[in-house]
C-alpha cells in the first residue's frame, strides 16, 4: 500500500508541474499590464513601476518567472501580493475558512444525498424518487448566484435566522447558510449516483443469495447492500470535495468569507501569476491527496481492488 501511495505521489509531480505551468501561461497571456491596471487612470511614476516590476519578477520572460515563483513556493518564501499583502499570512488566515466551508458543505451534501439517494433507491419510481429527479433538473437550471442571493435575502435579511455575511459569528454559525446553499445545489447529483448504485446492487446475485439464505431484510440492507452500493459514492465525494475550490470563488464572494476562493478571484483579476500558481498548486495537491485517500479507502472497503 505504501508503494502504491508513493508511486501515485511521484507520478503526480510532473502532472502538477504541467498543470501549474499551463495555468500560469494562461494568466501570463491575459491582456493588459497588471500594475497599471491596479493604478487605474492615475499615472504611476516610472521609478515606482520599475521597483514593483523587479519585486514581482515581471521584467523576466515567462519560464523564468514561473521558475522563480516555483522556487518561492518550494522554499516557503511566498512574498507579497501586487498590492502588498503578505501571502503567507493570507494563506494562514484563508485556508481554515475554505476548509470549514468545504467540510460543512460536504456534510450537508452527504447527509441529504445519502438520505434521499438511499430512499429513492429502495423505493424506485416512488414519490421521493421522482422528486429527486425533479430537484436535480431544478438545481441544474437555477444559477448558483440567484439561489445564493435569494437564500441570503430570505434567511439573513428577512427572517434573520443566519448572519447575512462575514465570519463575525464564528463557526459554524457564519458558515451554515453558505454551506447549505452549496449542499442543496450538489446533493442531488450524489443522491442520483447512490440511487443508481443501490438499484444495481439490489438486483445483484449476492443479495439474492443472502435473501435466499433467509437473512433478515434489515441485515441485508445494512450489511450487504449499502456497503457495496457506497463504493461509487466515495469516489464521487472525493472528486467533489477536491472540486469545492471552484465553488468557493462565488460562495465566498457572496457571503463575504475571506477564504481562498476570494483570494484566487482577486489574483486572477489582478493578473497575479505568482499567487495563481501558488493557489493552483495548493488545489492540485489537495486534489491528489484526497483522491489518494479515496483510492486507499477503496482498497480497504473493497478487497477486490486491494492489489500490490
Amino acid at each position: 500500500m505504501i508503494r502504491f501511495a508513493l508511486r501515485r505521489i511521484l507520478a503526480a509531480i510532473p502532472i502538477g508541474l504541467l498543470v501549474t505551468l499551463g495555468v500560469f501561461a494562461l494568466v501570463f497571456a491575459m491582456p493588459g499590464d497588471p500594475l497599471r491596471e491596479l493604478a487605474g487612470d492615475k499615472p504611476v511614476p516610472p521609478s515606482v513601476l520599475a521597483a514593483e516590476r523587479a519585486q514581482f519578477h515581471l521584467d523576466r520572460p515567462l519560464l523564468v518567472q514561473y521558475g522563480l515563483y516555483l522556487k518561492d513556493i518550494v522554499t516557503g518564501h511566498f512574498g507579497e501580493t501586487f498590492d502588498g499583502r503578505d501571502i503567507g499570512e493570507q494563506l494562514r488566515l484563508r485556508i481554515p475558512v475554505t476548509v470549514k466551508l468545504a467540510l460543512l458543505a460536504n456534510a450537508f451534501q452527504f447527509t441529504a444525498g445519502m438520505l434521499f439517494g438511499s430512499y429513492a433507491g429502495f423505493r424506485r419510481n416512488g414519490a421521493v424518487d421522482r422528486l429527486l429527479m425533479l430537484a436535480t433538473l431544478f438545481v441544474l437550471a437555477v444559477p448558483f448566484l440567484v439561489l445564493a442571493f435569494a437564500a441570503q435575502y430570505l434567511f439573513g435579511v428577512q427572517l434573520k435566522w443566519f448572519p447575512v455575511s462575514g465570519t463575525a459569528d464564528g463557526f459554524p454559525m457564519s458558515y451554515l447558510l453558505p454551506a447549505m446553499v452549496i449542499g442543496l445545489l450538489s446533493f442531488a447529483g450524489l443522491a442520483r449516483v447512490l440511487r443508481t448504485s443501490i438499484v444495481e446492487t439490489v438486483n445483484s446475485d449476492f443479495v439474492k443469495t443472502a435473501r435466499a439464505k433467509g437473512i433478515g431484510e434489515q441485515r441485508v440492507l445494512w450489511r450487504h447492500i449499502l456497503p457495496n452500493a457506497l463504493l461509487p459514492v466515495i469516489t464521487f465525494i472525493g472528486i467533489d470535495l477536491a472540486g469545492i475550490f471552484a465553488g468557493a470563488v462565488l460562495t465566498e464572494s457572496i457571503f463575504n468569507l475571506p477564504g481562498l476562493g476570494q483570494f484566487l478571484f482577486q489574483a486572477i483579476q489582478l493578473k497575479e501569476g505568482g499567487v495563481v500558481v501558488l493557489l493552483s498548486t495548493l488545489a492540485f495537491i489537495s486534489f491528489i491527496v484526497i483522491n489518494l485517500i479515496v483510492d486507499l479507502l477503496y482498497g480497504v472497503l473493497d478487497p477486490r481492488v486491494r492489489s500490490g
Binding site: P31, G32, D33, R36, E37, D41, K42, P43, P45, P46, S47, V48, A50, A51, E52, Q55, D59, T81, D83, G84, R85, D86, Q90, L93, N106, A107, F110, T111, M114, F149, Q152, Y153, F155, G156, V157, L159, K160, W161, F162, P163, V164, S165, G166, T167, A168, D169, P172, L176, W222, R223, H224, P227, N228, L230, S253, I254, F255, N256, Q262, L301
Partner: protein
C-alpha cells in the same frame, strides 16, 4: 464485510455533528454614538497613509490622521486644520507651511515640521515604492530620489534620500520649493495620503503597518489591527481640532456590493454605498434611509484620437458632441448628471453653461457634420471589456451617432490598460471613453491632467502651446480669483478645440441607518464618517 459498516459509521459522523448547531441570531446594530461603516472594497493592506491611495485607504486615513487643510463642506473654501498658515511666495513656487502648536501623535510625540519633511522624503524615495510617491514629483529634487531608465533596463540607485526642495525652518515651520510655480499647491495639501508618520514609525514603517500611530480624531481600539478583521476605532481625546460625532467607528470590508447592501437591509451596519446593481431599487428598498450626493467630483468623456486626420476638423467634433443626448445617456448610466463643461459641479470656478456644443440638437449636428465633410470611415468605438457596462455605453453612444449622423459604427472591446497603452503610442483606432476624478477640488485639476501637453491623463494626446502657456500663468498667479479666470480661459479653448467631449458626472448614493445622517456637501461629497447621529 466487517469493514464497511465501520466506514459507513465514520462517514455519517458529520451528519450527526450538525445536530449541535445552534439557532440563528443576528447581530444588532451598534446603537448610541457608534458607527459601523461598510467599505465596499478589499481590506486595506496597511494603515500607513503614505502607502495607500485607494478610496478605502483614504477613508480610514481620514479617521486616524488629520490633514494640513480641508475644504469647508459648507462654503467650499479652504480652511486650516493642522496648518496655521500656508503662504506662497510672489510666484507660487516656494510655499511656507506653518503648523499649529499643540498637535501630537497618539504615542505622545509632539508634531513638528520635521515630521512632515522626513515623512515626505521617505514617501518620495523611489525604492520604497509607496503609493503616494507620485504626489511629490512636483517638488524640487524629486528626480534624484527617482532615477529612471529606458524600457527594459534596471534603473540606477537613487543618488539622494532627501528632496532639496523641502526645508525645515523651525519646529513649526517648513518650506516646500517646487520645480515650477503652482498656485494650486495649497489646495493639494488636503490630501490625507500626505499625513505625517511618527518618528518611531519612520524608523521601521513595516512594523507599524497594522498598528498605526495616528494624529487624528480616532485611534485603534485594539493594540493591532489583524488582517481579516474589522478596523475598530475609538475617539482619541488628544485630538485638538474638530472631530466627528461618533465615539466609536468600525470599518467593515465587504467586497461584494450586493452583499454589503443586504447587510444594511438586515440592520447590521449603519452605512453602505449603493452598488450599481441597486441603482433602480434602493429608494424603495430603504425608504427614508437613502441619500444621493450633491457633488460629483468626477467627469467622464468621449475621447477623440488627435493622431487621426479623420477627426481633425473641430467642427466635426462639435457636431459629434451635439449629436449626443446627454440627458438620455446620464439616465442610462443612472445616478449621473449630464455634463455641460469640463469642470465638475461644486468646484470653485465651474460655470454651468461653459460648453456651447454640449446641448443635444440633432438637426444642427447633422448639418454641421455634413458641412465639415463627414467622417471618411466608420467610427470605431473602443470600450473597456473588463467592466460590465462598457459595451452598453458604447452601443448607446454608437446608436446616437448612427441615428443622428447616419454613419457606420463599429465596437471594439479591450482591457482598459491595453486601450491606454495603444493610445499612449498614438496607435489606437477610433474613439474611446475616459474618466477623471479630481485629486484636489480645483478647476486646475480638471484641466492640467487632460489638456496640458504630456499631461498625466491626456487621453487624446492634445497639445496646444496656448493652453500650456495659460496653465503656466494660472499656476504662477497667487491671487486665487485671477488664477481661476486664467483657468476658465483654458476651459474655453479646450471646449472650442474639443479634443474630447464631456459626457456626464457620476453621483454617489448611500444608505444610512435611522438616526444617522452622513454629511452631504455640494463641495466635498458624502462622508459617512462625519455623520450627524441622533439616536
Amino acid at each position: 464485510m466487517r469493514w464497511s459498516s465501520a466506514a459507513l459509521g465514520l462517514l455519517l459522523v458529520p451528519a450527526l455533528a450538525l445536530g449541535a448547531c445552534g439557532n440563528g441570531k443576528s447581530a444588532t446594530p451598534a446603537k448610541s454614538k457608534s458607527l459601523t461603516i461598510v467599505i465596499t472594497a478589499e481590506p486595506n493592506k496597511t494603515l500607513n497613509p503614505e502607502n495607500g491611495n485607494s478610496s478605502a485607504d483614504i477613508q480610514v486615513a481620514e479617521a486616524l490622521y488629520a490633514p494640513l487643510v480641508e475644504t469647508d463642506p459648507a462654503s467650499g473654501k479652504l480652511r486650516n486644520v493642522v496648518a496655521d498658515s500656508i503662504t506662497p511666495d510672489a510666484t507660487g513656487r516656494t510655499w511656507t507651511i506653518k503648523i499649529k502648536d499643540g498637535f501630537s501623535f497618539q504615542n505622545g510625540q509632539a508634531l513638528t515640521a520635521r515630521d512632515y519633511v522626513d515623512t515626505w522624503n521617505l514617501t518620495a524615495y523611489g525604492p520604497n515604492a509607496w503609493k503616494n510617491n507620485g504626489f511629490f514629483s512636483k517638488v524640487d529634487g524629486y528626480d534624484a530620489l527617482n532615477p529612471t531608465a529606458p524600457d527594459g533596463q534596471t534603473a540606477p540607485a537613487p543618488t539622494a534620500k532627501e528632496m532639496t526642495g523641502l526645508e525645515v525652518v523651525d519646529d513649526h515651520t517648513f518650506t516646500v520649493r517646487l520645480k515650477v510655480p503652482f498656485s494650486q499647491f495649497g489646495l493639494t495639501l488636503q490630501y490625507l495620503g500626505l499625513a505625517p508618520l511618527a518618528e518611531a514609525v519612520r524608523k521601521d514603517p513595516k512594523a507599524y503597518d497594522h498598528k498605526p500611530i495616528g494624529m487624528g480624531p480616532y485611534k485603534l481600539a485594539t493594540d493591532e489591527w489583524k488582517t481579516g478583521e474589522d478596523i475598530k476605532l475609538v475617539k482619541w481625546n488628544g485630538y485638538k481640532a474638530t472631530a466627528p460625532q461618533a465615539d466609536k467607528v468600525t470599518f467593515r470590508f465587504i467586497q461584494n456590493g450586493d452583499t454589503a447592501y443586504n447587510e444594511f437591509l438586515a440592520g447590521t451596519v449603519d452605512s453602505v454605498q449603493v452598488p450599481s446593481t441597486k441603482k433602480n431599487t434602493f429608494k424603495t428598498d430603504a425608504p427614508d434611509r437613502w441619500l444621493v450626493s450633491e457633488s460629483a467630483g468626477n467627469i467622464f468623456y468621449f475621447v477623440f484620437p488627435s493622431w487621426d486626420p479623420a477627426y481633425a476638423k473641430p467642427e466635426l467634433r462639435h457636431a459629434i458632441s451635439m449629436a449626443i443626448d446627454r440627458a438620455a445617456f446620464a439616465n442610462l448610466v443612472g445616478l449621473a448628471k449630464p455634463a455641460s463643461g469640463l469642470v465638475a459641479p461644486g468646484i470653485d470656478g465651474q460655470r454651468p453653461d461653459a460648453c456651447k456644443y454640449c446641448t443635444h440638437d440633432a438637426a444642427a449636428a447633422k448639418k454641421l457634420f455634413d458641412e465639415a465633410g463627414g467622417l471618411s470611415k466608420p467610427m470605431t468605438i473602443n470600450y473597456n471589456s473588463g467592466t460590465s457596462t462598457g459595451q452598453t455605453y458604447a452601443q448607446a453612444i454608437g446608436n446616437m451617432m448612427r441615428q443622428t449622423l447616419g454613419i457606420e459604427v463599429r465596437y471594439v472591446g479591450k482591457p482598459g490598460s491595453e486601450i491606454t497603452d495603444l493610445a499612449d503610442k498614438k496607435s489606437l483606432e477610433g474613439v474611446r471613453f475616459g474618466g477623471w476624478g479630481h485629486d484636489y477640488p480645483s478647476i486646475e485639476d480638471y484641466l492640467t491632467p487632460m489638456f496640458k501637453s504630456n499631461g498625466d491623463a491626456n487621453f487624446s494626446k492634445y497639445a496646444n502651446p496656448k493652453v500650456d502657456q495659460l496653465l503656466a500663468q494660472g499656476d504662477s498667479q497667487p491671487n486665487p480669483e485671477r488664477a481661476i479666470q486664467l483657468y476658465q480661459q483654458v476651459e474655453d479653448i479646450c471646449l472650442e478645440d474639443m479634443p474630447l467631449v464631456p459626457l456626464y458626472h457620476i453621483q454617489d448614493a448611500y444608505l444610512a441607518a435611522k438616526g444617522v445622517h452622513p454629511r452631504n456637501s455640494r463641495y466635498t461629497g458624502v462622508s459617512p464618517l462625519w455623520s450627524t447621529i441622533d439616536r
